[in-house]
Amino acid sequence: MSEVLDSYPLLLRGAWTTVQITVYGAVFALVLALAFGLAGTARGRLLRAVNRIYVEFFRGVAALVLMYWFFYALPLLGLRFTPIAAAVLAIGLNYGAYGAEVVRGSVEAVPRAQWEAACALNFTAAQRMRRVLLPQATALMLPPFGNLLIELMKATAGVSLVSIADLTFRAKQIQASTGQTAATFAVILVMYFVIAQALQVLVRIAERRTARMLGRGLPPRRSPAAAPAGEAVLP
């Protein structure tokens, strides 16, 4: 075990690479998720078709296979990527597809009454989305986004297969040089777990902030707004 722990600079460098790919991949996936998810809520058939094609295709292919494509196959067609770029593209495209479904579902889950109120104030379609629907949908998106972020981080372990020196790659190096298989993989198990917990904490903070913005988590004060519609209330 001590031999494994002695290689900590190597492990830390690997962990840093894992974190970097996670962050780049997550940012890319988020951009794709918003773009294609919002396309899925559009009235126009064309935009909705673009959403369907993107989601169905990239949700259906394995991130690792996609990575092999960017790393090994596309260069044969003259398209070259650095290993990191290939990894980020593959992971972003794959998780962006899951995220797009989360975005679409969350926006559609905002009560229609909010859309109507925004319409009554003569907001344009873009203003309705940006100022009313999206802020409220964000609260619904964050918990599933937290799940996806951790999934994405774990999927980065696959980048070791395109020779990126991430945490898993370093572990395999250490395991080969020390022969300490169980100890090495036990250590990185814990390291992945710690990274996942750190990401979870960040998501929780974001969740709390959105909840506060929406007035949730304040001391409850029930307003009598729940009377059935159309009921006559005569004093």
Partner: protein, 292 residues
């Protein structure tokens, strides 16, 4: 027998909350609606269907500029649909709706009416405001932002002008101390008063009120009704109101339209409709409402 207890209003007499407040004018320089001339409304042979269900059946009616008209009738008779068509939340299946002189859902092109695009609807919506049964305040904004968001981003007011207008309106609705509050922290009555202020902040010439007190606890109804009476007195905004509260309808309306199955079966000044209704259907409806 016509319902006799309507001759004396069922609610406490207005004025309890009124004195000193909104004495003749809304804030923002001489009345929220005075910057524009009020618009009338015309429905010409309007049809609206939901599936096989014909909600409005070749409906014709007109509301004069500045007139206060209340729509009454049983649930499902098409009253709310009329407001929703006017707010462009629902699309008519036939006929023409005019707000002012201009068709709402159509554009005139070469002497013919063609379906209007979003740009035309955006222009027309400027004239119309709506208050909803369930308030529909934006929970992602505090009270002040609920009131300033439209004026800033739609009307193009500066932030300061919008805040000044919003504060004046909050004063009018008696919630000047709640501008930083979150909508969920307000009572239903307070939320509805904010929603009324939010609609007025856009300076509509037509105000649509869709069962605005139906979702409120009985003790909160009076405050909202008093406020609307104030607004009716102090502005020249055209009001179209759907309500089941006959005392309020009586106070606020110039004219009452009784709906049944997508048609107007009787109309007249509130005194006539409530005291000497001509139609048996109207009498039955009024009896039912008063009994509930």
């Amino acid at each position: 027998m016509p319902p006799t207890d309507l001759t004396s209003p069922a609610e406490p007499v207005p004025g309890k909350a009124a004195p000193g407040k909104a004495a003749g004018a809304l804030p923002g320089g001489g009345g929220a609606a005075s910057a524009r001339t009020p618009c009338g409304i015309t429905f010409e042979q309007v049809v609206k269907r939901f599936g096989d269900n014909v909600v409005l059946d070749h409906l014709d009616f007109a509301v004069g500029a500045g007139e206060r008209v209340t729509l009454i009738g049983p649930s499902g008779s098409g009253k709310t649909t009329i407001l929703r068509l006017l707010m462009t939340l629902e699309r008519p299946d036939g006929g023409v709706i005019r707000v002012g002189d201009d068709p709402l859902w159509h554009m005139e092109r070469g002497g013919k009416l063609v379906k209007a695009g979003e740009k035309h609807l955006h222009e027309m919506r400027k004239r119309i405001g709506m208050v909803f049964q369930q308030f529909n305040l934006f929970p992602n904004m505090n009270v002040l932002r609920n009131l300033t968001e439209g004026p800033v981003h739609v009307l193009g007011l500066s932030r300061d002008e919008a805040v000044e207008r919003a504060r004046g309106l909050l004063e009018l609705v008696g919630l000047a101390d709640k501008e930083d509050a979150h909508p969920t922290r307000l009572s239903g009555g307070q939320q509805q008063r904010v929603a009324i202020a939010r609609a007025l902040a856009m300076e509509p010439t037509v105000l649509l009120l869709d069962e605005v007190t139906s979702a409120l606890d009985p003790e909160l109804v009076v405050g909202v009704q008093d406020l609307l009476r104030d607004i009716a007195r102090s502005t020249d905004v055209t009001m179209l109101c759907v309500t089941h509260e006959m005392g309020f309808a009586r106070d606020i309306s110039d004219r009452v339209l009784m709906f049944d199955q997508g048609r107007i079966i009787e109309e007249g000044p509130p005194g006539t409709i409530f005291e000497e209704p001509r139609e048996e259907r109207t009498r039955a409806f009024l009896r039912a409402v008063l009994a509930s």
